[in-house]
């Protein structure tokens, strides 16, 4: 039982970790582009910020999967 709980925790960790790396890779180019546009025109701040956080949803998917693992499968 303890070993199962450990595997679930590792699974949850991998889900959050990989999702975070994926989101980071996505944000890399968008963030650079947003800063570039903002450097020329401050009006792009809002749009740039919005575009930059869009890949963040992938990290949230990872978090949701991790929470499901921890709370549903551990119960």
């Amino acid at each position: 039982m303890v070993a199962d709980a450990g595997m679930i925790a590792i699974g949850a960790g991998i889900a959050v970790g990989l999702a975070g790396i994926g989101a980071g890779m996505g944000e890399q180019a968008i963030g650079a582009a947003a800063v570039g546009a903002m450097a020329e025109d401050e009006k792009f701040f809002g749009k740039g910020l919005l575009m930059t956080v869009i890949p963040e949803s992938i990290a949230i998917f990872g978090l949701v999967v991790a929470l499901i693992l921890l709370f549903v499968f551990n119960a």
Partner: protein
Amino acid sequence: MGAANDVKYAYIAARVRAMKGKLIPKEMYPKFLNMEIPEITRFIGESEYKKDVDELGKKYSGIDLVEHALNQNLALTYRKLIDVSQNEANFLITEYLRSWDIWNIKTIIRGKFSGASEDEILEDVVSAGQLRYRELTEIVKIGTVEGVIAAFAKTPHYPALEGYNGVLADIENSLDRMYYSNLIKVVSASGNKLFLKFLRTEIDLKNLKMLFRMKRADMEREDILKLLIPGGMELKDADLSRLAAMPLSEFVRAIEEYSYWKAISDVSGELTSLLNIETRLDKYGLAYAASISYYYPLSILPVLDYILSKKIEVDNLRIIVRGKETSLQEDIIKAHLVM
């Protein structure tokens, strides 16, 4: 284009897109035509050129002020592109902008050849390449063409200049050929196929303009071939040599098989003036740069598109202001504008 390349160009591509958004919209040009010179000057002084107009306001006035402000702004904008770009983009932009070194060398030598004053020469100098404005102002002070050529001895352009024998066209032509052959070499080595495609199209358009001019002047095939730049996209060496041998009317028909024909097809009947054809080819170049930069948004192409658009904006403003100053008719000024 791989993901790593996309990331590399994301910053500079987004930045130049934002910069392009600040260029004067083409709807403004017809309005300029209805304005008087002071109104246009005021508009320019309140636009993106404000800083340059304010800075140079103490030294120059009227049309000269506009001309110097436009040139300074162009040079600073291009220099900024070099400063804010990194790695491959920085290298390619620097190499491409060396064309302004060629422009400055030609301007100074032409100026000295025709006995223009230092101020007149400096009016047309745009220090957007690797030669700095201060160096160029020092060179402008030299009295003779030979002296100017000697002053460029340490630059990579010297091999094209050292053969000067009193004929300007020869060294100008070898400067151009050297610039393009060197650019093709470094761009090929960098492996950036998109830049190469853009560059080779630019060479084609340049060659076409040259062919039209030379055909109208009834020049011999050998003389024309000496002036053409090898390395074009559609107009390969064999095509150039074939086209150079044809008389004007046959030459115009022969261009129909190339894709550039669609740019000039409706004005090809009016060969009394080449103005329409040259403006159309410039427009084609601009539209082509814009369209391929949309196909490959995360590449060097948006930067090249911006470089071209900015140059054309400055040219257009200069044409309008100079045209108004010399009281040219509106339709003549309009025919010169690329928009």
